[in-house]
Symmetry: C2
Subunit: 189 residues, 2 copies
């Protein structure tokens, strides 16, 4: 009955992550099932559990790369041209753009409140916040209070978390995003 595939057909963590990522792009965490992933990979869903302890762990592996993508996005703004004010605006819209163009990922990264996810995803999201704070400090010569930075971050999060699911991608909310960024910029003066 049971079996093992030939070497070249064997599963690898990478393959699983890739397929999970693929399905994650158009569907959210709860709708992507281990069975659907397995089916597409041509294996039984039990096989996935040999490589990942559970669904959450698999999706954390998927989402890891998105954390670094976000951090890079934030950091890269500093290198761009323009005055620091427009750079700050770019940080704000950049964050929103990331959130609205990777909605299921964003949800998993910043909105999941599952017990199991906490230790993993929560630390990573803290690091992203730290990166955000660093960049802002740098762009303002460290004149901003932590409280203001935190409020700004929370307000950006609010934008993403509000428009998520209501809009398909960043472009559809671009104008509102720019206005919101402007609002926050003024608040920081």
């Amino acid at each position: 009955m049971a079996a093992r595939k030939k070497a070249m057909d064997e599963l690898s963590k990478e393959m699983i992550i890739q397929e999970a990522n693929k399905q994650f792009l158009t569907s959210d965490f709860h709708k992507v099932s281990m069975r659907a992933i397995a089916k597409e990979l041509g294996c039984s869903h039990g096989a996935i559990y040999y490589h990942f302890a559970n669904k959450t762990e698999l999706f954390y592996a998927v989402v890891e790369q998105y954390f670094t993508e976000l951090n890079m996005t934030l950091e890269n703004v500093i290198q761009e041209e323009g005055d620091s004010r427009s750079k700050m605006a770019a940080v704000f819209t950049g964050f929103i753009e990331f959130g609205l163009n990777h909605q299921s990922q964003y949800e998993f990264m910043f909105m999941q409140r599952n017990k199991e996810v906490n230790p993993l995803s929560q630390q990573a999201s803290n690091e992203s916040y730290t990166k955000f704070a660093q960049v802002l400090q740098e762009l303002t010569n460290h004149t901003l209070s932590l409280a203001k930075i935190y409020s700004t971050f929370i307000s950006l999060h609010g934008f993403v978390s509000h428009y998520r699911g209501f809009v398909e991608n960043y472009n559809e909310a671009k104008e509102a995003a720019i206005q919101h960024s402007q609002f926050l910029l003024e608040a920081l003066d």
Copy 2:
């Protein structure tokens, strides 16, 4: 095999809503199951489906009262004593307080992006936003732009949606909430 209970033991919408509400207080939408509700009511879970088309409809019925509670909270601030600035702060912290003291309800009311919920819960949440905007307009003699009001709302939503699950109730985030409200107040100047 099957049966019908005696008149006084019959199920009513009210009883179901009450029990669902009760379980909703300490657990979120996905964790409260129709079966658990039925068990506590001493009936089969199928019986609930005679009174409510599905889980979503039941929970919308539960949450309806919370929408009016929130609207009242917002509205009542106007009657309080104090200058309009402190009243605005009270509106902000009032919204946050509601959100953090009714987390599962808030999630269902403002964060659910389920297709089925949309028509119901989305309209109600729009009404709550409208109420919020009205109160703010009134407190500022209609000098606020719609864009600023919207940004403010979104920023408050961000606070709740960020602290939710991280904190048990409003009190645990009170200081941060006050600071955030202050931040938004300044932004509106």
